[in-house]
Amino acid sequence: MTARPGIDRLLELFAEGKVAAAARLITILENGGEDAERILDSVFHRTGDAYRIGFTGPPGAGKSSLLNRLTGRFREKDHRIGIIAVDPTSPFTGGAFLGDRIRMQAHSADPEVFVRSLASRGSLGGISNCTDEVIDLMDAFGKDLVLIETVGVGQSELEIAEKAHTVVVVLVPESGDGIQAMKAGLMEIGDIFVMNKADHEEAESAAREIQDTLRLKDIPEGEWEPMVVLTSAREDTGIVELVEAIEEHRRHLEVGGHFASMRKKILRSRVRNALMDRMERRLRQSVRVRDFLEQRMESVYKGEISPYRVVRELEGLVSIQ
């Protein structure tokens, strides 16, 4: 292989707007470690401006096709767009088949649309563990809208709710009846619910059921009331209405001062997660902790002491003051 530019050079090229450099930096972020932190330290002051829209929903609901259509409309409004499309990593082989680009062909030659496919790499929350970092990079690269597509989710892969300003839950008439919709999880994180495949004869009644379920929720005065939008990505209908709904939600956040508080919330959770990761890594790497555990596990095996007692003893050893 030919010599590759180092991180300093990549950051220079990144600042000049070179896509190849941005793409390479994302790979380094994905692989984590000291280099990833160096990149974030260097670009973080240029982040915070991008509006993040998350798209989640069951597999096959049409999330990628919808993103493709939406991107067209957002480009008409001169937005510069970053798309992060997450597909699952095989827990058996570690490999991944990232196929979201297939449905996003309309923009693949548009340099203002930067699409990056990410494998979930062991994360169970429906996105990749480095999603925040990739959003930062796209933000610092000048993308003012970042669209994040989760893996096809069931009811509990909800991490996107912590990352996005607006969460769009994409459903289809076959997604289930009203009872499914009342279940906890997915139905609680949507700011906008899209009933896609509106050409399907059941679509309108399915949308009504979603609407009815949402009305059961007590929404405090001044809070956002989730909207339901009917779309057909295939026939390109309802897309304008969806853009309007997203813009309305954004205005709601901005006018109500929620935008600033959300940013703080996102950043607090990032610091917390980074701290937990760091602590976990340090615990795993500590020879002292490993030796201690090895020694004490014998007593646990024999039933002399409980797992909790071992942890209490360990806490004494590694306490943070």
Binding site: N31, G94, G95, G99, I102, S108, V115, R121
Partner: protein
Amino acid sequence: MARKVRVLIAKPGLDGHDRGAKVVANALKDAGMEIIYTGLHQTPEMIAESAVQEDVDVVGLSILSGAHMTMFPRVMELMKEKGAEHIVVFGGGIIPPEDMDKLKEIGVARIFGPGTNTGDIVTFLRERFPEE
């Protein structure tokens, strides 16, 4: 997290036979690689831009239409323009032996013809990227 080999598999041009491309994509996925599959009817511009944005290590092109002598050079030229000449390019499809030599001359790493065992493609890439 260890470095993963990322591979873009694309079908340039007009032919609509993507079974081979899918078989290869699947075999590489099973070998632990990350495959970005972009589907049918790709122009060289789309392939090159996708390869750059995705920062892949390898691009695999499947061509059965006979357009290989235009497609391969064009994709490689565009990738070079975009600062991604380090990407390894390999191909599959029906390609006459005399063209294979010419393609190797312009830098195509390998061409796999009909009847190739997918294990050979996996071995080829593993040798090329031993760090994973």
